[in-house]
């Protein structure tokens, strides 16, 4: 084998602490090395040409580059060698920068360490084998989980590029939390007015298959090749026959037994309902927990009035299987409820704020419904207890956010803005009203955000008090808010008519279970985890699964939309090629020595190890052995280290390669 060694100075990065020409001279003397050279920037075009030229002139079979970390330029050098006719997997990188020059001061010892690192790589490359990348086909169809604004945006982007999308939403309608909002900051445009056209577009798009009232039940497979099982929950209404006329809803005798989820419990809804008038699809659902027919077998009023015969009490859940190449998670958030909790609940709650105890203490989403023209008060701000306009209202920020002892350590990010918006909307509607905001800091980073908060304070006269509230209690029909003004340095007491709590944003119900189902990481709060916080913010560590919106962390509408488009772009990159190439660095089982203990299967984090039955030529059972699904294997090597009979090897990092590296050091 003819090996070439190329030492990079990386400008002064390596060259300052490592005597590169000396390393090259020492390398040239190593057994197997036929050529060695150093150069100022090996990754530059002339540097790469140097390698290519040497490969041709010296007929090299293998190349060792002493340079920066393989994370930086392994690809560059592999490509250069490949174009000169050397298999890319016959290239080894010795990390002379991060592992040597950057962390040492003394030139002599750094140089001798660099020579050792080169020797290790040279000994390893002798055992390298030419490898061919693994190719897997791509199913050019995406699954989007969650039909809020993020999911809608991602689905529209992918569908717009000409690919099929399945949009799964667990509620009866798409729209998510955005459909509940009154106006949006910082422009105060009506939320539904900008959202509903998008919802309709989703419904009408030929490339989008919309599955509402459905949940993802199972996911198998890997990037480009996922098999998904979706549970389509029964609406007890035949979607093909229903025209959405609403007669059944009008005539349903159960008007007041169920509280409306869409109105956050501030209004009632019938047993058969659509969540809100602009729902997409406009097909009702029967809530079997309150429906008289499902409780006593009587009534059937909806059946009688439905001219299309669409009501189907016998309809059952259906399982739908789909094959997709990419998955976008857009499951969103919910608000932390500070209601009284069962004793074993992990979060302590804020009993002192009286949420759930006093009717006029509401949360942010409830206030949105009160301020919304489509809400239970038709947009008039009326307090829930006596339906009178509150003359004095107090907003409290950071309830559960930035409070490790009672809630969560993180900032929910949107509350400063929506509280300013709430206070502003209140002042616009109740002209003689007084609005107070208790805050810790105002975090209004964003285009026109700070200006928006200033407008609330300066133009609308909202009174901001920096400090926390210790207690809220009711006295003579007033809510007494006891707090602290930390700027004035005194205690404050406000007798208000209504209180709005900006409670923390937390991940949607069952987000962590979904993460486990999909095999993607989530953080301690249950938010989905990106693979790199800066450079890969919408990708998960599982190939082909991307993140959009508040399922990742608290974020507002513009950020969610931007993230959704980014996730869609990542899916489209995947769909841009017919086959995927991946590194062949995967585990391989020696079937002759494998004893079938399957310890490897237990430790594999990627479910890549399967069971395989070996039969002799007569078809008789010999034994069961482990088999690595190379599409799923991520090449981590855990199985390799676990195998008691040394029957699993990691290609590219085989035992003899590792031993060669160790011996290279031991011989000195």
């Amino acid at each position: 084998m003819k090996i070439g060694v190329f030492i990079c100075h990386c400008g002064e990065n390596i060259g300052k602490t490592v005597d590169c020409p000396k390393v090259a001279r020492a390398s040239a003397l190593m057994p197997g090395v036929v050529y060695a050279e150093d150069y100022k920037y090996m990754c530059s075009d002339p540097g790469q040409n140097l390698i290519k030229q040497a490969i041709k002139e010296k007929e090299l079979d293998a190349v060792v580059v002493g340079s920066c970390s393989p994370h930086m330029h392994e690809k560059t050098f592999r490509k250069a060698c490949s174009s000169a006719g050397v298999n890319p997997f016959m290239v080894e990188i010795a990390n002379l920068r991060e592992h040597c020059s950057w962390i040492h001061n003394d030139i002599n010892s750094a140089t001798s360490k660099a020579i050792d690192l080169i020797r290790i790589a040279v000994e390893k490359v002798k055992f390298n084998e030419p490898l061919i990348p693994i190719r897997v086909p791509v199913t050019k169809k995406a699954l989007v989980i969650g039909g809020g604004i993020s999911g809608i945006q991602a689905a529209l982007d992918i569908a717009g590029a000409g690919y099929q999308v399945i949009l799964v939403e667990k509620e009866p309608s798409i729209g998510g939390h955005m459909s509940q909002l009154s106006e949006t900051f910082p422009t105060l445009d009506c939320s539904q007015c900008i959202l509903t056209p998008r919802m309709v577009e989703v419904y009408q798009h030929p490339n989008i298959k919309l599955m509402t009232y459905s949940e993802v039940q199972n996911v198998e497979g890997f990037i480009g090749n996922f098999k998904v099982t979706i549970r389509k929950k029964t609406r007890h209404v035949n979607e093909e026959l229903c025209t959405g006329c609403g007669d059944c809803i009008q005539k349903c005798p159960i008007k007041k037994n169920a509280s409306s989820e869409f109105d956050e419990g501030l209004a009632k809804r019938p047993a058969i309902y659509v969540p809100f008038p602009q729902a997409v699809p406009n097909i009702p659902v029967i809530d079997t927990s309150v429906c008289t027919y499902f409780k006593s077998g009587k009534c059937q009023m909806c059946v009688k009035v439905c001219g299309r015969g669409a009501i189907d009490f016998k309809q059952e859940d259906r399982l739908v299987e789909e094959e997709v190449g990419a998955i976008i998670i857009a499951t969103g958030y919910k608000l932390y409820s500070i209601d009284k909790k069962p004793d074993d609940y992990i979060y302590k709650g804020y009993g002192e704020y009286g949420y759930g105890q006093y009717k006029d203490v509401v949360n942010g989403l409830q206030f949105e419904r009160l301020a919304s023209a489509s809400g239970p008060t038709a947009g008039e701000i009326l307090r829930p207890s006596d339906k009178k306009p509150p003359k004095k209202i107090v907003f409290i920020q950071c309830v559960g956010s930035r409070d490790e002892s009672k809630g969560f350590s993180y900032c929910s990010k949107i509350c400063c803005m929506y509280t300013a918006k709430h206070a502003m909307l209140y002042k616009h509607k109740v002209h003689d009203g007084e609005a107070y905001v208790f805050y810790m800091d105002i975090r209004a980073g964003g285009k026109m955000y700070e200006e928006f908060v200033r407008r609330a304070i300066e133009e609308d006269g909202v009174k901001y008090i920096r400090g926390r509230v210790s207690r809220i209690y009711e006295d003579c029909g007033k809510l007494i808010i006891k707090g602290e003004d930390t700027i004035a340095g005194e205690a404050v007491e406000i007798d208000a008519d209504m209180v709005v709590l900006a409670t923390a944003m937390i991940p949607q119900e069952n987000a962590s279970q979904l993460a486990q189902l999909l095999g993607v990481p989530y953080d301690k709060h249950g938010f989905f985890q990106e693979v790199h916080p800066k450079l890969r913010p919408v990708e998960t560590s599982t190939g082909g699964i991307f993140l959009a919106g508040a399922c990742h962390s608290p974020r507002d509408i513009p950020e969610s939309v931007a993230m959704a488009s980014a996730a869609a772009a990542k899916a489209l990159v995947l769909f841009g090629s017919d086959v995927l190439e991946r590194e062949p660095v995967v585990a391989k089982v020696n079937e002759t020595t494998c004893a079938g203990c399957f310890y490897c299967q237990k430790v594999c984090a990627y479910s890549a190890i399967e069971r395989k039955v070996l039969k002799n030529r007569n078809g008789n059972f010999i034994k069961e052995v482990a088999y690595v699904n190379s599409s799923l294997c991520q090449g981590c090597g855990t199985c390799n280290a676990t195998c008691p009979s040394k029957s699993v090897e990691l290609i590219g990092f085989k035992d003899d390669q590792i031993f060669a590296e160790i011996l290279a050091l031991a011989e000195v």
């Binding site: 302590k348 804020y350 009993g351 002192e352 105890q357 002892s405 207690r471 006295d475």
Partner: protein, 293 residues
């Protein structure tokens, strides 16, 4: 197993009616208990202001004694004693550094401490059903405001209450004993605590707010489980009345006294005659005490 009883200083002095009612009520329930032999000061409010280690070591000495005397559970009716004992236990259990200092000071190895209960928790241990079962006198004419104060429900996380801002454990005991409870706002507000001597005006102001709110919400009496709360609400009430002639006097009873009434125990044995605000007129009008067993 017998409970260990840690009376603390208050129950031997200003709150001796708390002590006598604890003893007589527990004997009615056949709860066996022994006073911890040779118990000493818990440190209460003065030790932690002097030296942190001292404030851990003083209760620790009693925890060590209780352990040596074989008690697995210790109850401390005084809320301050309870608070100091659980805080010290928590610190020794979780802070190795403090533990080794305490071991050096007390010249003894630490293995574990007994479980520490306050009087509300002790009643829950006895069982709410048991309280209801032993009830002899109908207290349903009484409307009680349960006042927890601060020390009974703090520190957060380690005191074993259901909610340190909106606790309900005392209400459950009072209901089990047959009295009504009122919903009110000030059950964990500050009574002024040990400012009682140096800043009586502050205590009177704060205690007045508590009394006002209890009355406004329809309470006939206030139930406490802390000698400090009791003295501030009961002893200072006459002075509050002097400055605020409008207020109505309201009796303040210990939880054990209320349970004792339900069990039909004679009022003198419960020390009901030792309060500044005499509860007897109220009790006589609302209950048929004479018919007691």
């Amino acid at each position: 197993m017998n409970y260990g009883y840690y009376p603390g200083c208050s129950l031997t002095g200003t709150a001796k009616e708390f002590d006598s009612s604890v003893r007589v009520v527990l004997s009615k329930f056949n709860v066996r208990f022994d006073e911890i032999n040779d118990w000493s000061c818990c440190g209460a409010s003065s030790a932690h202001a002097t030296n942190h280690l001292l404030s851990v070591a003083l209760p620790a000495k009693n925890l060590f004694l209780a352990k040596q005397q074989g008690f697995e559970k210790v109850f401390a009716p005084c809320a301050a004693c309870f608070n100091k004992l659980i805080s010290s236990k928590h610190e020794i259990d979780t802070n190795k550094n403090i533990r080794s200092k305490i071991e050096d000071l007390l010249e003894e190895k630490y293995s574990s401490s007994p479980e520490i209960l306050n009087i509300v928790q002790l009643f829950h241990n006895i069982g709410l059903n048991e309280i209801t079962a032993q009830k002899h006198v109908d207290l349903s004419g009484l409307k009680a405001a349960c006042y927890y104060g601060c020390l009974l429900v703090r520190p957060n996380d380690i005191n074993g209450t259901d909610d340190n801002e909106e606790p309900t454990t005392m209400e459950k005991v009072v209901s089990a004993a047959g009295a009504k409870t009122v919903k009110w706002n000030f059950k964990t507000e500050c009574c002024g605590a040990s400012h009682s001597i140096a800043h009586t005006d502050i205590v009177e102001k704060l205690s007045k707010k508590i009394i006002d709110d209890a009355e406004k919400n329809g309470a006939d009496l206030i139930i406490v489980a802390c000698p400090m709360c009791h003295s501030n609400l009961d002893m200072r009430q006459l002075n509050i009345k002097k400055h605020n002639p409008g207020i109505k006097l309201i009796p303040v009873l210990y939880l054990t006294q209320l349970v004792g009434l339900a069990l039909g125990i004679e009022e003198k044995k419960l020390g009901l005659n030792l309060h500044f605000i005499d509860p007897m007129p109220l009790l006589k009008s609302k209950l048929k005490i004479e018919a007691a067993v």
